[in-house]
């Protein structure tokens, strides 16, 4: 992994730099610009300083209330889906068949939800959960449960969470499966000689080896669930009331629904900052993993 210093490499990176700068930095500058100004329409802007930010971070104001409500809602959502998807993903990965065509078949079926357009994921569950025409809603109602994701808050949450579990658990499972496959057989043989129990094998061999992939999986799932928009938007539209309005949905409402530029921009920047901090943790994990990989390859 010893890289040579070569400043000319910049020429190779330049096209990427330009295209990403065009699609990321330029819009972000507009957002910064909006966030410190106010307007009475007609493209007349005046200086508002940190006004929007103060309003946003003040829980007693209307904007602040909406922001914090959607933020806590979103964090709760992320926590719940992580608590379900990670253990379930590990269990599924451990249940994978050993080899042969069955592995391939399982991989294909498991990957299927990952490749479905997000609005179609929403549509699938919208239809599936309807009490009149959906298998799930119909069955639940005939079992005597009063299930209706349109009017009942709890049902709406349950639907959105089950949908996310359906959509993304396979990702955790596939990552874990890749991690498990990299454990040499010798480890298991040693465990067998020691007479280790199934549980001991899991905690002493498999879990430590899964550390890195799990960390990547958790961070990826956190990031993606923290900016979830399309699926709940299609299924519940953020309702009933505001009960499934996550940060992205709130932001789009303010920005494109009300065209409240200043408020939307301030919210965008705070939102982006949170993402950036988590992203930095992610980056550190990822690049350290790269160093590990380099050492391993060097040793072989």
């Amino acid at each position: 992994m010893d890289k040579t210093v070569n400043q000319k490499a910049w020429f190779l990176v330049l096209p990427v730099f330009l295209v990403v700068a065009f699609s990321a930095v330029l819009p972000l500058m507009t957002v910064v610009n909006y966030s410190i100004q106010d307007t009475f329409g007609n493209n007349q802007f005046f200086w508002n300083g940190a006004g929007w930010f103060k309003e946003l971070l003040d829980p007693s104001s209307d904007l602040g209330q909406r922001f914090f409500a959607s933020l806590w809602r979103n964090l709760a959502f992320s926590a719940i889906i992580l608590a379900i998807e990670v253990p379930l993903g590990i269990i599924v990965a451990l249940s994978m068949p050993r080899d042969g065509w069955r592995v391939a078949a399982c991989l294909v079926i498991m990957a299927l939800p990952l490749l479905i357009p997000w609005n179609v994921v929403g549509t699938i569950w919208q239809i599936f959960g309807r009490p009149d025409i959906g298998l799930l809603g119909y069955t639940l109602n005939h079992l005597g449960m009063d299930y209706n994701y349109v009017s009942n808050e709890f049902d709406a949450w349950a639907t959105v969470i089950v949908m996310d579990v359906w959509h993304w658990t396979s990702l955790v499972a596939l990552l874990c499966y890749a991690g498990l496959k990299s454990i040499p057989d010798a480890y298991y043989q040693a465990a067998q000689i020691d007479g280790a129990s199934r549980w001991a094998v899991f905690t002493a061999i498999q879990l430590p080896k899964l550390n890195r992939v799990l960390l990547i999986g958790v961070l990826l799932r956190f990031m993606d669930s923290f900016m979830i928009y399309t699926e709940p938007f299609v299924v519940t539209g953020g309702g009933p009331g505001n009960s499934t309005t996550f940060v992205s949905i709130e932001l789009v409402k303010i920005a494109l629904g009300q065209f409240d530029l200043g408020k939307a921009a301030a919210l965008s920047l705070v939102y982006n900052l949170i993402i950036l901090i988590v992203c930095w943790v992610f980056y550190t994990v990822m690049t350290n993993a790269g160093v590990d990989r380099g050492h391993k390859e060097g040793a072989v």
């Binding site: 990403v20 991989l107 490749l115 596939l174």
Partner: protein, 268 residues
């Protein structure tokens, strides 16, 4: 040894859980609306292809697929061709600000599209690209170019440095080395990166919907508008959904061993 008790049962239950909602969608797409609304049937009793024929004959529907494919293909080509040299540079050289740049790219992959919806709308309206496939293709570069760089960097790093050095000693110029030696060596990596660019552009709705109105309306927008317009043509909606799953389902077999790697940005 690395399996657990009851694994067959667990796995079967999980796979059924994954397939059941998809089956329901496919099932509904072959039903008439009368059957959908009036009775609860586990399979279409009066199977019909009417929903599919309507999509393939009605221009407002099939043009949605064509529009989506246009920007997805443009975006994939841009992303891969820009990302390839950059991935090579990140993998082989150290240069001023390389680590910051790499992090900055990642942060764009992670940025919430909702933040960019409004500024993109202004930007692309201002430069006259609004409602063209180019606007969506460029907007999707926000997350697809970084994704491609990260995935390809992982694959380029798997090619031993000695190969570069030998090629240069043999008198290959840099462009010739790149096209004749490096690209064939990481062909599978390019395939994986292209697949993921295609996929992430194909599944995105928010930006695609914001940046188009009439002429370039993608299929995802056509679908959502049908729902809100209270047409409640469930069979048609289901058929449209099934057709959007097909591109992924067609290529999934070829990338099955790389899916974890692609989602983890080439780091697994």
């Amino acid at each position: 040894m690395h399996s657990i008790p009851g694994r067959r049962l667990i796995l079967s239950l999980y796979l059924v859980f994954l397939l059941l909602p998809i089956y329901w969608l496919v099932n509904m797409s072959f039903k008439t609306n009368g059957e959908i609304v009036s009775t609860m049937t586990l399979w279409p009793h009066v199977p019909t292809l009417e929903n599919y024929t309507r999509i393939f004959t009605d221009e407002s529907w099939y043009s949605g697929y064509i529009n989506s494919l246009k920007y997805v293909v443009i975006n994939t080509i841009i992303s891969i061709s820009f990302a390839l040299p950059a991935a090579y540079a990140f993998s082989r050289y150290r240069f001023l600000g390389d680590k910051h740049l790499f992090f900055w790219l990642l942060s764009n992959r992670m940025a919430p599209p909702a933040v960019y919806a409004l500024p993109f709308f202004n930007l692309y309206s201002a430069i006259g690209l609004f409602d063209t496939p180019w606007a969506v293709a460029l907007a999707h570069c926000l997350f697809n170019v970084p994704l491609a760089v990260w995935i390809l960097e992982g694959f380029v790093s798997g090619v031993p440095r000695e190969i570069d050095e030998t090629a240069f000693l043999d008198g290959y110029s840099f462009p010739k080395f790149f096209v004749k030696i490096l690209v064939p060596l990481i062909a599978s990596g390019i395939g994986v990166a292209a697949f993921f660019c295609f996929m992430f552009s194909w599944v995105e709705l928010l930006l695609a919907r914001t940046l188009t109105s009439v002429n370039a309306k993608p299929i995802s927008a056509v679908m959502t508008r049908t729902v809100s317009a209270a047409g409640m043509d469930w069979g048609l909606l289901a058929a449209a959904g099934v057709l959007t799953i097909i591109p992924g389902a067609l290529v999934i077999w070829f990338v099955r061993n790389y899916i974890a790697r692609g989602f983890a940005l080439g780091r697994v």
